[in-house]
């Protein structure tokens, strides 16, 4: 856990994000099957993500699930094929 700009501690945004974790899920994957979670949103992003391992909005490591959060290879739960 590293220091954050606001003085709290936590997982920093990855400097060089990897591909999305294979457990990352969002509605677009179900209804528009050709959309990847790494795809940049348009003018606004209200995508709601979840982890298929926990089926929650936090991962097995209790960290947040999100477009950027789940591209952080330093997380213990991060998995890619």
């Amino acid at each position: 856990m590293a220091d954050q700009p606001d003085g709290t501690t936590g997982t920093p945004a990855p400097s060089q994000p990897g591909p999305p974790c294979r457990h990352l899920r969002f509605k677009g994957m179900y209804v528009y099957t050709d959309v990847a979670p790494s795809e940049e949103p348009g003018e606004y992003d209200n995508t709601i993500f979840w982890c298929q391992k926990t089926l929650k909005d936090f991962g097995p490591d209790q960290g947040f699930v999100g477009r950027e959060d789940c591209r952080d290879g330093s997380r213990a739960c991060y998995e890619v094929d």
Binding site: M1, G10, K27, Y30, Y44, N46, T47, Q52, K56, Q62
Partner: protein, 716 residues
């Protein structure tokens, strides 16, 4: 390229849904009604605390309770963080629901209670405890187009206002859940209340280590999802694990409080907006600072919405709270964006002294092109004209001129837009049996929209049969891949492969029976339940199918271009009365004008619009998740204090299908979401028109109305 019939017999007419009688009579078996032999009842133990660490869990007291067959920890002692009240701790399966509840209460959990932030105000307050590892807030990507500050200085009229919409929950009448029934050591059948039988099946495969071929998910009918039921959820996986341990099927559905706390919600929205226009009524600039909470997820929304503002800036902040997680909810983001934009438009029109209808039309983009070369601005203009006639807009009066007594009457309107396209990789199988029965199969499901009926309409149209002669067999994950029901994509995704499958099956039928009729396949046709050869009746449908002998016809259809499209618009008008002494708002009438391409079944289409409007009315008048800042608990996790419309709250609703020849050639577009977007906005504007004061907070409850009136008198 495939095409829809030019002169359809059934498509576009009003056809009752195939399962309507079963649903209305109570014979339909919802997933929560399924009772396999030996069924055990599952109960979820959830956290009473909004923010905590789980220090210890002792399941032993529950395991020794009478009738208890299996107990499972869902949190891990020493590891699990509790982010909100209601979060899953453990699950129990027992002979009766009462025994399972008693056992769940017997589980001993030791918590380390941590500081919490239950509301946006509490989370973002100066000195608030930093509850989340990455901080309580997160800035979204800021956007600036043009030179908004410079442009704003040239505006002749400017409004500055803050509008707010609360978190609301999905309130599915059938709660989230499923019944898990193992059919062997490595084979499971699941009866799930879901919008995605394939999604739930995939979760079972991934979380239980099963092979896909050994998982069957069934959803014959289901009681509402609205975007919140795409996955198996922790309690679904728990049900499967408990069922395995007990060796008996387990039914696990959330109770009503858990449904509010765990089942998802629509994020809140707060928008501080500065909007400027020139004297001629043209918008010149917009500056917006917005925020919202989706628990720990996204809360952003489109802004500006519908109208063209060249010079604009937008900064959005996600606020994290110790509340349940947001999930997609019918037109995610659009109802919020629509409400705040339309409120600002109305307030600016009032300041300029311009009729708000004319002000809106003046600020549509010259060209708002959507699929098929359609300029949505042209559609809006015609829709607004139609809606204005239906509501009687010629009765509209400026704010403050709507009654001398305590009962004020007002009119309001709002515009909306949506995509509604579909996926192009789904399949439908069509089977024509020698006994004349016809079956459609696909792993899609009917979440209440009429998907089952719509597929049957297509088959009946092509085969010259009645809709009731078609068995529309969906809601089974082992069938050909079907569409998950979300984003208004089900019909545009499933109708094209259905048409393809049925046409292929019909052509194969003709090919196989033509030689026996001394005819060529191209000489054959179907009409009115009869087989025709060169236009002359030769056999009934049943006689024709008997010529197949022992082998049915089976065909699988795929998506074809030109049959579906995307991009719709619509508008809604509301008429209300407001009692300025009590703050009570009554909606008297709503007009909903909507386009959505080719309408396959006018009856189910209109039902979607009615349902959308009623959902929007609830958002506009009643719904609000109320959190207690002291305890972090939700104060109204029920259907008494969480307010919803009753029968007497539903006004006259006029649904006007913008169903023109130009729309029909676009092909099929979904309609599930668009008609729920602008209702709350139109109601808010009608209230402002009635009482002469903007009520800046939804819902339009007596408290919010009276607060706004008091603030206008300087008494707040």
């Amino acid at each position: 390229m495939a095409s829809w019939p030019e002169s359809p017999r059934l498509i576009g007419t009003s056809i009752p849904r195939l399962d309507g009688l079963a649903k209305a009579s109570g014979r339909a078996k919802y997933p929560s009604d399924i009772r396999p032999e030996g069924l055990l009842f599952g109960v979820l133990l959830s956290s009473p605390h909004a923010s905590a660490k789980v220090k210890a869990i002792d399941l032993e007291p529950a395991k020794t309770m009478p009738g208890v067959k299996a107990v499972l920890a869902l949190a891990t002692a020493g590891e699990s963080t509790i982010f909100y009240q209601g979060q899953e701790i453990a699950a129990v399966a027992a002979e009766t629901e009462e025994k399972a509840r008693d056992a769940a209460r017997a589980i001993r959990v030791e918590y380390e209670i941590l500081p919490h932030v239950a509301t946006e105000r509490q989370s973002a307050a100066e000195g608030a405890p930093k509850v989340f590892p990455t901080g309580n807030t997160r800035a979204a990507r800021a956007q600036t187009t043009g030179k908004p500050d410079e442009a704003m200085q040239k505006a002749d009229a400017v409004i500055e206002a803050t509008y707010e919409l609360p978190v609301i929950t999905h309130v599915c009448l059938e709660p989230h859940g499923l019944t898990a029934h193992w059919k062997g050591p490595d084979s499971i059948t699941v009866y799930a209340s879901t919008q995605s039988v394939m999604g739930v099946a995939n979760d079972m495969v991934e979380n239980l280590g099963l092979e896909s071929a050994n998982v069957t998910v069934l959803t014959d009918v289901m009681g509402g999802g609205f975007g919140s039921k795409f996955n198996a959820d922790t309690w679904g996986i728990a049900a499967a694990k408990l069922a395995k341990e007990a060796g008996r099927p387990v039914r696990m559905f959330l109770d009503r409080a858990q449904e509010h706390q765990l089942g998802g919600n629509r994020p809140s929205a707060k928008a501080k907006i500065k909007l400027g226009a020139a004297k001629d009524g043209k918008l010149v600039a917009m500056v917006a600072e917005t925020s919202g909470t989706g628990g720990r997820g996204g809360s952003n929304f489109p802004l500006p919405y519908v109208y063209k503002v060249d010079d604009r800036s937008r900064a959005h902040t996600e606020i994290f709270v110790n509340g349940g997680s947001a999930r997609a909810m019918r037109a995610p983001g659009h109802p919020q964006g629509c409400a705040v934009m339309e409120a600002a438009m109305d307030d600016l029109a009032a300041k300029l002294g311009i009729n708000p209808l004319a002000f809106r039309l003046a600020n549509l983009a010259e060209a708002d092109m959507v699929a098929g070369g359609v300029n949505r601005t042209d559609l809006y203009k015609e829709q607004v004209e139609r809606g204005a006639k239906l509501i009687g807009w010629d009765r509209w009066k400026p704010r403050g001129q709507n009654g001398d007594g305590p009962i004020k009457r007002g009119l309001g309107l709002a515009l909306h837009q949506w995509g509604g396209g579909g996926a192009q990789d789904k399949q439908v199988a069509c089977i024509i049996n020698p006994d004349g029965s016809v079956e459609l199969r696909s792993a899609t499901q009917d979440i209440g929209t009429g998907a089952r009926t719509i597929l049957a309409v297509i088959a009946a149209e092509v085969l010259g049969l009645e809709v009731g002669q078609i068995k529309s067999n969906i809601g089974n994950s082992t069938f050909p891949p079907g569409q998950s029901s979300g984003g208004s994509t089900t019909t545009p995704s499933m109708a094209p492969p259905c048409l393809d499958a049925v046409e292929k099956a019909r052509d194969e039928l003709f090919k196989r029976i033509a030689p026996g009729l001394d005819a060529k396949p191209e000489d054959l046709s179907l009409k009115g339940g009869k087989l025709l050869v060169k236009g002359e009746e030769k056999a009934t449908w049943a006689q024709a199918c008997r010529k197949l002998g022992m082998m049915p016809v089976t065909a699988t259809g795929v998506f074809g271009p030109g049959l579906a499209s995307t991009g719709v618009g619509g508008c809604q008008f509301a008429e209300v009365t407001v009692d300025v002494e009590t703050g009570v708002v009554r909606v008297k009438k709503i007009v909903a004008v909507q386009d959505s391409g080719l309408i396959l079944d006018m009856l189910t289409w209109k039902s979607q619009v009615y349902g959308g409007v009623i959902g929007g009315l609830n958002y506009g008048l009643f719904e609000e998740r109320i959190m207690d800042e002291g305890t972090g608990a939700m104060l109204n996790p029920d259907m008494e204090m969480y307010k919803l419309a009753g029968a007497t709250d539903i006004p006259e609703i006029v649904v006007d299908a913008y169903d023109t020849p130009e729309m029909r050639v676009r092909g099929v577009i979904g309609v599930g979401e668009p008609p729920t977007i602008s209702t709350a906005a139109a109601i808010g504007n009608a209230v402002a028109n009635a009482i002469g004061v903007r009520v800046p907070k939804w819902p339009m409850s007596p408290m919010n109305v009276l607060d706004a009136l008091a603030a206008a008198e300087g008494k707040a």
